[in-house]
């Protein structure tokens, strides 16, 4: 899967978790740029991503994510 394909697959997950049907994400998107992205919804999003991609993350990995680009790279590495 390419990074762009991962991003496209992430978009509906983000729209559902963050309750925003028009949300567009890029690699530079951060929690600060999505009003409903907080510590509560952050893990909801992680759980949904784990399910959709069939992967599992550690607390350390989740804590080190700075933006959507980091998440995409983490998924790409895990899916290898």
């Amino acid at each position: 899967m390419t990074n762009d394909e991962i991003r496209q697959k992430l978009t509906p997950i983000f729209r559902d978790v963050f309750d925003d049907d028009s949300l567009e994400i890029s690699e530079a998107t951060t929690a600060g740029s999505v009003p409903t992205w907080d510590s509560l919804t952050h893990i909801d999003m992680i759980v949904a991503v784990e399910k959709a991609f069939g992967v599992s993350f550690t607390t350390k990995e989740v804590g080190s994510l700075g933006n959507v680009g980091d998440l995409i790279r983490l998924i790409a590495n895990r899916a290898k």
Partner: protein, 483 residues
């Protein structure tokens, strides 16, 4: 040496002069010496405990960063954190346990109680050390080779009495600024100290008398008086603690260290989870990163039950962090329960208001109003000496539901201990201060303030200073210095 004493003001002034006169390379060491002198003015044995804890964490962080195997790294981090939590529990709850033993007639309980006198700021500095070690373990922060840097981070005197709990990476990243602190930041720091003193001494301590009176004997007051007391306590707690935070951040700025913010207009919160993102932010964000997220990750296979458990445990931790009292635990549990309900209904509420645009406008007003009242309710429990007293307060709040037969609506100012004029003046000043808090983050308002004639601005500073001097005679210890 209390944070609000003349001796402390002299101490800060002296430290500041020596700090800025000293060669840049000495400043971190000097600040460390003054931080330890400040702490030693409270208790010498507790200073040794601070030093020993810091040395232990410094060594542990360096060893963790050099560990080659994940297993050893995890074992050392876990063991050190367990020791730090045990230390915190021993001092926070050991005295309480000794009290229970004393009540049961056990010999030696007095000695235990004396040994376990709670060291000043232990909740703040131990949280700093635990966070630092976890950040090193998670490779978010590099272990400090310099013991002076670690020790200064842990003992930095503006933050040790009542926080804020600064993150290690944030603090270490600013250490180079000690060598060349900005003048503009220092003058902003002085304004911040003045703002904090007005909040604490002029507003919070005026409200404290009324609050203490109604809580001393709730049955003797009318429901309206108790309601007023409950509102006043919410404001007292906010102005007391945010005032102390302003003073801490202001003093830090004099040395080039910008501390984290603790409050962001909390009473404008739209819901409970929004409130806890705006109240005591340095503690709640600490708990989010080091307790809530690990718990939420561990429980994520349990669905909604896992989320509820993580929220409840986290909020219970917020409550009992304040000390070994059932009232604090119930305060945390109530907030946890409110948050669980709010989190699970948020999407449905959003969908409901999305289809009803006209009502959505009212939501902007009613959301904060309902949230504020939920918090005022839980703060009654927080303030009460015991659960029994909290129950007495709450039952007497209901008109005709109380046991005393006091009519529902009288406001007897002499019993309350403050005149209506004083209260009106304090509340007006509180509104002005809150406007200053809000406008200080609005660039256009900042510009407006600084384009005022110099005489007007200095007039305001003098007015604030005179108010602080006038009311400083009967100032009280900060509520949050006891935690």
């Amino acid at each position: 040496m209390s944070f609000l004493s003349a001796e402390f003001a002299l101490f800060v002034a002296l430290t500041c002069v020596i700090f800025h006169a000293a060669p840049a390379a000495w400043r971190a060491c000097l600040l460390l010496v003054f931080s330890y002198l400040f702490y030693a003015s409270w208790s010498l044995p507790h200073t040794l405990l601070l030093l020993a804890t810091t040395a232990g964490v410094h060594m542990a962080a360096l060893t963790v960063s050099r560990c080659r195997t994940e297993r050893r790294k995890f074992a050392l981090t876990s063991a050190t954190i367990a020791a730090l939590v045990a230390l915190l529990a021993a001092f926070k709850w050991g005295g309480w346990l000794a009290g229970m033993l004393a009540a049961a007639g056990s010999r030696g309980s007095g000695t235990i109680a004396a040994l376990l006198m709670i060291p000043l700021g232990i909740s703040y500095y131990l949280f700093k050390t635990i966070g630092y070690l976890l950040d090193v373990y998670w490779e978010k922060v590099e272990a400090q080779r310099s013991f002076v840097s670690t020790a200064l981070y842990v003992s930095f005197f503006p933050q040790i009495v009542s926080g804020p709990i600064q993150r290690a990476g944030d603090f270490f990243g600013q250490l180079h600024q000690l060598q060349n602190p900005e003048v503009a930041a220092a003058s902003a720091g002085l304004r911040r100290i003045l703002l904090g003193l007005v909040k604490k001494i002029v507003i919070a301590d005026r409200l404290a008398v009324l609050v203490a009176n109604v809580h001393a004997d709730p049955a003797a007051f009318s429901p309206l008086e108790l309601l007023l007391g409950a509102y006043c306590f919410a404001l007292q707690l906010y102005f007391d603690f945010s005032g102390m935070t302003d003073i801490a951040i202001g003093i830090g700025s004099l040395f080039g260290v910008k501390g984290p913010e603790n409050f962001n207009l909390p009473f404008s919160a739209r819901n409970i989870q929004d409130f806890w993102r705006r109240w005591h932010m340095s503690l709640t964000s600490w708990l989010t990163d080091y307790l809530f997220i690990p718990l939420r990750m561990a429980f994520r296979g349990w669905g909604n039950a896992g989320l509820s458990a993580a929220i409840l445990i986290n909020m219970l931790a917020v409550g009992i962090w304040h000390g070994p009292k059932w009232t604090y635990a119930v305060f945390g549990a109530l907030n946890g329960a409110f948050m669980v309900v709010s989190v699970f209904t948020l999407k449905k509420r959003n969908a409901f208001f999305k289809d009803r645009q006209k009502w959505d406008r009212w939501r902007v007003f009613f959301g904060p109003l309902v949230t504020f009242h939920l918090l005022v309710f839980t703060m009654i429990v927080f303030r009460a000496e015991s659960l029994q007293q909290a129950f007495s307060y709450l039952s007497n709040l209901i008109p005709h539901g109380g046991t005393t037969g006091v009519a529902a609506w009288p406001l007897r100012w002499s019993l309350l201990g403050r005149s209506s004029g004083t209260l009106a003046a304090v509340l007006t000043l509180a509104a002005v201060i809150e406007f200053i808090n809000w406008s200080s983050n609005q660039p256009e308002w900042r510009k407006r303030f600084f384009s005022l004639p110099r005489a007007v601005r200095w007039g305001l500073y003098y007015a604030g200073t005179i108010l602080v001097i006038l009311f400083s005679a009967d100032t009280l210890n900060s509520i949050y210095a006891q935690f």
